[in-house]
Symmetry: C2
Subunit: 271 residues, 2 copies
């Protein structure tokens, strides 16, 4: 069976963006897991994207796959894009190149070098391209977007835009309280439904034309599709894009956890 894969950042300007990038002097190690390296994007780099998504920062699954938003948050975003009829014509980048450790200081997030590098990605993905909608996920991504909108390229760029709640905000805000989680999920999906109303008319060239079907009060059966195999590097096993929860940071103390990513093949794969 053929397995499509992402050919990667082989063409300019992306090859240069993946060669020369901000490191530990900008992404300082008390706020970022710089030791795992930067993780740049997921999706199309060939100019075919109709939607650009700005997420926040990569976590452990992203660190193994070396693509952004491939875990649970990524599946939810995949479902969001599907509601716009977008199944392949998208590119996702993050606000931060490295995984956030603890929290990010405002001065770090505003660092002109950090912002300028991210703006270079937005320039490359948006200026003179075919993008019809932009989505930000969470407040950091919205701030990132606003920073680009203040540049000369950004100020003259005008497509459908929605600043949405981050896809795993319900989990991070509810502290394992089931009722809080249900409430926060409902609020998130209301927020996304409002965003879809803005975005949907803008996406005039979807991969699949379809009527907009809003979310219900909780995640529906088809709202968290697998990450497409075509977004993965060559040769990755199918469970890495079809399943989640296979990577964890384990350790007996903070430093051990920071140094560790444990990958476990799902039990149904090895029999």
């Amino acid at each position: 069976m053929p397995h499509a894969f992402d050919p990667g950042a082989f063409a300019e300007p992306f090859q240069t963006l993946c060669t020369d990038y901000p490191e530990g002097d900008i992404y300082v190690s008390d706020q970022f897991r710089v030791e795992w390296g930067p993780i740049f994007y997921r999706g199309r780099l060939d100019g075919s994207s109709r939607v650009v998504v700005v997420g926040q920062d990569p976590a452990q699954h992203e660190t193994i796959v070396r693509r952004v938003l491939v875990g649970e948050a990524g599946r939810r975003v995949q479902g969001l894009l599907a509601k716009l009829g977008i199944t392949k014509s998208y590119t996702i980048i993050n606000t931060f190149l490295y995984s956030v450790y603890g929290s990010v200081k405002a001065a770090t997030a505003r660092d002109a070098r950090l912002v300028a590098y991210r703006n270079s990605w937005l320039d490359a993905l948006l200026i003179g391209k075919k993008v019809e909608a932009v989505i930000t996920l969470g407040t950091a991504a919205e701030t990132a977007w606003n920073a680009w909108k203040q540049t000369s390229n950004g100020s003259s760029f005008d497509v459908a835009f929605a600043a949405l709640t981050h896809p795993t905000q319900p989990e991070s805000s509810s502290n394992h309280d089931k009722n809080k989680l249900a409430d926060a999920t409902k609020k998130l999906l209301e927020n996304w439904n409002i965003g879809l109303q803005t975005l949907s008319p803008g996406v005039r060239h979807p991969d699949l034309a379809m009527p907009l079907v809003p979310y219900g009060d909780t995640w529906g059966a088809n709202d968290r599709p697998a990450i497409p195999e075509a977004d993965m590097p060559a040769g990755l096993p199918s469970w890495m894009h079809e399943q989640d929860g296979w990577a964890a940071r384990l350790g007996k103390d903070l430093k051990s956890k920071r140094r560790n990513i444990t990958v476990t093949v799902p039990s149904d794969v090895v029999v």
Copy 2:
């Protein structure tokens, strides 16, 4: 600081070879860790290679990096290539696409589909290209080479060739016995020195012209250089190519170990 990376298998025929490859019906799961996916190559896919190396099978470091021969065996091969003046103009593939689990049955290794796929890689790397020397590492790789030499493409192909002892054969044959390890290392380096005598005159266009300096009785200080950053996918942290021993298969029983790869950042990287 710019970080060169391998742009990957974006061009044909390599894109197709990394899309459509033998799976579990050929690489059966009682002999191969098919659950971790295939790992295809390391080095140049742009036709610039002067030396092609055929190794055996990928292990845990290769599985995370998704390139072959990046662990200790890879460092030793990097040193071997350096003795030929080859610092970048090489391509390495393996006999087997997947990590060997236990041992490989003769009938599996001879499977016509497995052999034909590997021969397609050799065709792509060798026919009409600039390669001046071929190296096999270990008996499985020598058998693989002989299978290609029996094809019409292979039978008419003639460059310097050496079938060398596998770089970690001393460890696997000595069972933690220091004296046996020293003896086996000495024998390996004698074997490699003989091979270098054959290979060196064939490599007429090295990256760096230099006199051939044979190995001593054990590994010298410069005989195990780091894997070049330019062989890695984009964004991998430097310790993944500069160091070894950061990936392990851990678990309380065979199945747990088979399902696990634990990545640990070297202790000097996270302070």
